[in-house]
Symmetry: C3
């Protein structure tokens, strides 16, 4: 594997999931594969889970880690071709990426969408600028439209907890929030669920349609949460802002907050969430705190395994 930006970079998702399970069972198998290698983790936005889990994964492989808060430790980057840089940007991505490529063997990058200009965000201008100018592999620590390390960890979690021979029925259900969030986790969960062969159902209020590019292949997309929950094995709870009226939060009159009684529609489904979760806004205490239902901590734990597996695959080919 060279870059890890989306599920498209994964040649065989079943094989990758099996590798992850193997690494989880044999955590020290590759404990020196990264010796003498350095990963640079570049953050344009805050991070807790991704920052710590990716660092830990790198340490588990013997790598050195450099963490840079690009927004605070350094200066603002320019992405425009031919720009006359007489404004607030101090360094062009062409220089920055070239330089960073000489200091790091692998680069991780987090860059959230602005949620203002959909075309810019969905063209992944920042990630594509890095990709075009880096000469070392790039791992997404969440881009404008995708969060593949999260989705990979989610798929590992589903694989570990699905107890039937049949393919799992996975429901991605929209949840309320107090401010507009990116669609990245939802887009990414959709494309990974479909690619890994799950039956994916998406439920959301009117106005919250996701980009079809990522949801194509879902069994059902509905505005009816109850319909979606029928016989579900896994219920993935997530807020996102509007893709069509980009970045907006169209009013929602129905109650989309999941609760125990709604969960009775499912096949004793497990609840999933990528975190951070706003308790009693996105998801109720009663569900989060019930260990027989919630897989939230397991997902977070698998973030280390996901990162460690991806790093191992990339290191093998360095």
């Amino acid at each position: 594997m060279r870059n890890f930006i989306s599920v498209q970079n994964v040649p065989d998702i079943v094989a990758l999931l099996n590798k992850a399970i193997h690494i989880k069972q044999n955590p020290s198998e590759y404990s020196v594969i990264g010796k003498g290698k350095t990963i640079g983790l570049l953050f344009m936005n805050p991070s807790l889970r991704t920052r710590m889990s990716t660092q830990r994964a790198a340490y588990n492989l013997g790598m050195n880690v450099m963490t840079v808060n690009l927004d605070k430790d350094s200066w603002q980057l320019e992405f425009g071709d031919g720009a006359v840089m007489n404004g607030s940007t101090s360094e062009h991505i062409k220089e920055a990426a070239g330089v960073i490529s000489q200091y790091c063997d692998i680069v991780g990058l987090r860059s959230f969408p602005g949620l203002i200009d959909r075309e810019k965000d969905y063209n992944e201008e920042i990630f594509n600028a890095f990709l075009a100018n880096l000469s070392v592999p790039l791992i997404s620590l969440e881009s404008a439209t995708l969060h593949p390390l999260q989705s990979f960890a989610d798929m590992i979690t589903i694989k570990e907890h699905h107890r039937s021979e049949q393919r799992p029925k996975v429901v991605l259900t929209w949840a309320p929030h107090i401010k507009p969030l990116p669609q990245a986790v939802s887009n990414s969960f959709a494309e990974w669920s479909i690619a890994s062969g799950a039956e994916l159902v998406i439920a959301h209020p009117k106005g919250y349609e996701l980009d079809e590019k990522f949801t194509k292949g879902a069994s059902l997309i509905t505005h009816n949460q109850s319909e979606a929950l029928q016989d579900a094995d896994f219920v993935y709870v997530k807020n996102w802002s509007s893709y069509t009226d980009y970045g907006a939060m169209p009013e929602v009159k129905e109650n989309w907050l999941l609760n125990k009684s709604k969960m009775e529609l499912t096949k004793q489904a497990k609840i999933m969430h990528c975190l951070p979760v706003r308790r009693n806004v996105e998801l109720s205490d009663e569900l989060i705190d019930d260990p027989s239902v919630s897989l939230i901590q397991q997902q977070a734990g698998n973030r280390v395994i996901a990162a460690q597996t991806i790093l191992t695959e990339i290191l093998k080919e360095l």
Copy 2:
């Protein structure tokens, strides 16, 4: 040892001090005990000494270190049970601590008091919330009411420099400052001095009484600095704000700034301070800069030994 939050976590303080001295004399004895282990250092407030000395201690034991400025790199945590999180907090301590427990083998945490709500601070709500939700050991890098790594380093320093067979007479004397400071270092120094068998005398102006919970066992608590200094072996200089009129700075008319002539009352006592010190406000240049009197740098140096000893004790039981 499991957690290190206060002197209460120390089963045998004499044995612990002896271990520290041993480690100082044999710094590389445990240089691989932490191999493959990661400590996460979480800062809710600024830090120089604690940040660097704890990192260095961890490196000396072969550990990996992840430093997170929880206030800047990440987002604001919620601590309230049952909170409807529709405000400024983005993640509940229940999730955050659970997640961090999966990424770190040991966690260090710094969280200063707000100095507004005494009950909240003195209940150590933040530390107790971490303790309740972490599944890995927790080391205090200074809490609302205590700073045990500092006090442990102070006790090591006293042990190294006390030249008599008799127990040392240790004076904790209040010093002026320009803004209200926590009582943490003073509380902690008091309980560690008493627990380690020193004769503790505390001197402070009226209105600066400390919580008896920590000072119980002191030989004398007085408003008369000169009385306190009589025959002292060690003089610990520290400002703190009022505990009774919580966080306030009651006016002080007498001159509490220590100087050479006041020191003549002592038994050629050594001066101690936890740093940072505001020169010529808390303590005069003439005392700080006199190497025959000041142990300030030695205390700071012993911060590495203190952290290294505690980490070793915790790692042994992991």
Copy 3:
């Protein structure tokens, strides 16, 4: 080598350059020389290249690294002798440097000039205060007046790319910018070029004279860019603010932006820049993006080699 603050600390520049070339060809020769040693990198200002390249260099030698943003992670330092610290500074350099010396084996420091008080900046008050109070070696990560790791990397780059038996003709040419920049890179480049035996020509508009202390030994200092460029082998492009009217930006009416036609005056010279560069303000896209002309990325890459060589020299004597 003990400290690395300026070219004055280099006993034999030819030997040092040869060591750098040797290390570049044998990158793992000293991969354990720093084992068990820790470098503290202290930043009073933002940094990307220096932060990452110095970290990488330290990792390549087996060192541990502690990075501290002194302006954000910690608190403001006092540098005044005898200061009554009742203002915004919380810790005196005397304490801070003493403490840091006990936690680090080597210290790196970045501290930009204020560009207001020339005497203060050119006396290198901050660096000299650290030097006076540290008991471990100090490496400049850019001071008020010098940037020796950059200049050393520049000299390595010139050595690698100079194809003639004759000494290279090196032109340092002023470039436009939108805000006042330090003279540090220019001062440093001048003294290193002269010390390494190059023929140095400096070109700048009136009012931008550099301190003679650093430029003494240059073959020519001119206000005529074309005159300077004649037969140049290397053209180093850099903006700086006025030294005489300290920190000001005297108006410049001529066009100092370098372009391809101006470069025809040279002996097919290579272009150099320390980065970050403001494209089409300091230097045009056509020059930066032409790999047959630009050595900019090579300079940045050599930052690791420069730091690694200096660290090796210092570690050998620890």
